[in-house]
């Protein structure tokens, strides 16, 4: 009997434990080397943060904080004009400290605030808190300054929750690593870069002196939509006509159009709180439109013309109707078929963090 039992145990397959930590460690090693950041503990901290961040919820609600990791808080703050920071706590360099840091800081990391973790090397401790920089809705954020416009002389790592199941780790040297936790196939393009391409297209008709700030404004807005996991569909008209083509008329027409470029221009010119508030209010409105059902339509001058538009795919376009994916994806394919005619481009952001832009 005993022999039989031993025999059956040997035949039974061994249970195997698979952890994402191993794969993550393999990818983060080269990433950190390229970023010229050394120390085994840094890798462990990074793995812990990434793993905790992806599922971090507060009162059942998922949060999307940005986390900055660096060594020298003083130098970093000096390079961020008009910055302020709030120290929340100090703890030993162990995963428990990071859990506590995330628990305490994540609900506060919104409206421009980012979580920071800084190593206190001599004491093997980590200080955590929140920091922000900038004066108006147009100001470059801490992450934009440290990473998009980064420089190796100020080493830092940004961990951001770019969509519901994707964490992006970026470094000041310009390297980045996207980590997907979802079941979906890996997106081919970096959604943040796709959004930037779309923004460049939307602002092409905007006066050159405000083109860059308007592009940054939309880029920030769409990145927020991407993080919120709502998804959206956007079309850009090709001609600066007063009306909207028949195709996109089935929606809420905003009359007069929401002229973001002129609001940005006024803020840059007068630098007053009044214009800043107006621009922030416009941002809130446009964000609401983007996460509403249907398509949001932009003019070639960067204005917002219509939202909540639904298109009916004509029967003759059976190929599109039969394509896999949801209604939003099919509508996107249809809009793409109109690019070069009444449309200049179209952007889709799906709930799973996939972004696609087609146009010029």
């Amino acid at each position: 009997m005993r022999h039989k039992h031993q025999e059956s145990q040997a035949e039974r397959p061994m249970s195997q434990s698979v952890s994402i930590r191993n794969d993550l460690g393999k990818s983060l090693g080269p990433f950190l080397r390229k970023e010229k950041i050394v120390g085994r503990k840094t890798k462990d901290v990074l793995i812990s943060v990434v793993c905790q961040l992806v599922h971090h919820k507060e009162e059942g609600q998922q949060l999307f904080p940005e986390i900055l990791l660096f060594d020298d808080l003083t130098s970093i703050l000096k390079s961020l004009p008009n910055s302020e920071h709030v120290v929340v706590g100090v703890g030993p360099m162990v995963p428990e400290s990071l859990t506590l840091a995330l628990k305490r800081c994540a609900p506060l990391a919104q409206w421009g605030w980012s979580i920071y973790l800084t190593r206190m090397r001599e004491e093997e401790k980590v200080e955590y808190g929140l920091l922000r920089c900038g004066l108006t809705a147009l100001s470059l954020s801490a992450s934009e300054l440290l990473f998009h416009e980064g420089h190796g002389a100020l080493p830092a790592i940004l961990i951001s929750h770019v969509s519901q199941s994707t964490i992006q780790v970026s470094g000041a040297h310009g390297n980045s690593l996207r980590i997907h936790f979802g079941a979906v196939e890996e997106p081919r393009d970096d959604p943040v870069k796709v959004i930037k391409r779309f923004c460049a297209s939307v602002v092409r008709g905007v006066p050159i002196e405000v083109r860059e700030p308007v592009s940054n404004f939309y880029s920030r807005l769409l990145s927020a939509v991407l993080r919120s996991g709502h998804g959206c569909l956007v079309a850009v008209l090709s001609r600066k006509k007063a009306g909207v083509s028949q195709l996109l008329k089935d929606g809420v027409v905003i009359n007069p159009a929401l002229d973001v470029a002129s609001k940005v221009s006024s803020l840059l010119r007068y630098k007053s709180c009044e214009y800043d508030t107006t621009l922030r209010a416009a941002a809130a409105l446009i964000r609401g439109m983007l996460i509403s059902d249907g398509i949001t339509v932009f003019g070639p001058d960067g204005s917002v013309r219509v939202y909540n538009v639904f298109v009916k795919i004509p029967k003759r376009l059976d190929a599109i109707a039969g394509k896999p994916g949801g209604a939003r994806r099919r509508a996107f394919e249809f809009l793409c078929s109109r690019v070069g005619r009444e449309l200049k481009g179209s952007l889709i952001i799906s709930q799973d963090g996939h972004a696609d832009f087609r146009g010029v």
């Binding site: 390079s79 147009l138 420089h151 050159i208």
Partner: protein, 446 residues
Amino acid sequence: MGGQIILWEGNTPASIPASATSPEKILPFANSRQLSKRDCSQVINAFKNQSYEMVSTFIWSKAISSLKAQLSKLGTGFIAEMLDRADIDEGASITEVLTDYDALRLAYELGVITSTGYLRLKHAFEKIAHFGQLPPEEADEVQMSEDEAVGVIRACVENILGQNKIDAAVDFKKFRDHLESAVFEQDASDIKLLVNSPYFFKRASTRIVLAMIKSSTGAQLDNALGNANVIMPLLWPELLAPERFQVGRAYSEVVADGKAQAASGLKIILLKVKGFDYVPEDLRSRSFSSIARKVLEAHEGFNNFHNEPGPMKALAEMGSVIPRPAFPLCMTASLCVRLGNVYGVSFAARPHANSVLKRVSKERWLFYLDSCLRADDRILEKLISDTIYARWVSLVQEFELGSVAEDVKDRHVRELIQESKDASKPVRVRQIVTRMLMKNGYKVSY
């Protein structure tokens, strides 16, 4: 500037013979597009009626309006940066925001007028401002003399109204165009010239580059950033605190305006020169600078004794500690009020200036003397006058600057303070100041 290498020189003034000593002989040299025949005949008639102040004021306003109109063509942003005036926004009218004194300084810095022309026009302006602010009872007794009026007319016609077209110096325009259209090599001849030039050109070049970075886009911005990357590290060791703060503030402004490319370029430069200490931490310094500007506007404008107390009081009441980025300008403004001009001081404004100066710690005095005074042309120019020199000596004594000066690194500044401990060496002090001004690129005569 004898024997010194310079990047650009002022335009040649209209050649009026020394023998021309009356409006009838000077005014024919005025350009008819700037001063009509009717204006000329009215000026001559008024002069004959001994209305010297009226004539001088009229000619001055014609000349300065013409100068401001020409300067405004360079663009508001450019002018604001050249004057280090963050308070001038893009939509402002240059003729309204630019004071007469600022217009003269700028015209000189851009080579619109020569250093001699600048000196003569400045003297003319001082005369007009002085006679314009006399109370009625005194004005009847002390009138502008014929010679003084002729001096004003001559300076205005020679340097502004006699010009076919008032424009920046050709060399200056070439230099500026090059900064926008191509990137200089580190060993380019213009860069070598710049490095060996007086401070004035280094300051002007820094401001030109910053103005371009803030206002350009596309390829022009690429070139401006490329040139800043070549020029700034070379100039940085010699740049004084006010200019370093200007670079830091430019970075802060482009970040605030969301101009990512410009911010990225300036950040690289600041990293290269280790200049992040000069980036303002917050907006407080802007408020201080803005009030200090108002003090200077009042001090350098008409009726200054009456207009100085308001803004000076506001500056004194703003807070006990002046933020570092605004400190150089606040010191210049307070010292201007405390030292006054050749005609006296504003007795109502002086106590407020004293109140600001009394709160300046020894360390801050040392910072001002070491890192600002050497290029503070406004204050240095004042010290050439005997009457202002006497007030300067009393300031040096009151604030015991002699002991502070022992730690000053700059030899000229140290000497200036040591020789100002008592009023016994006016000639020596004037020589030191003259040397300092000439080193900065200014022509001096007294």
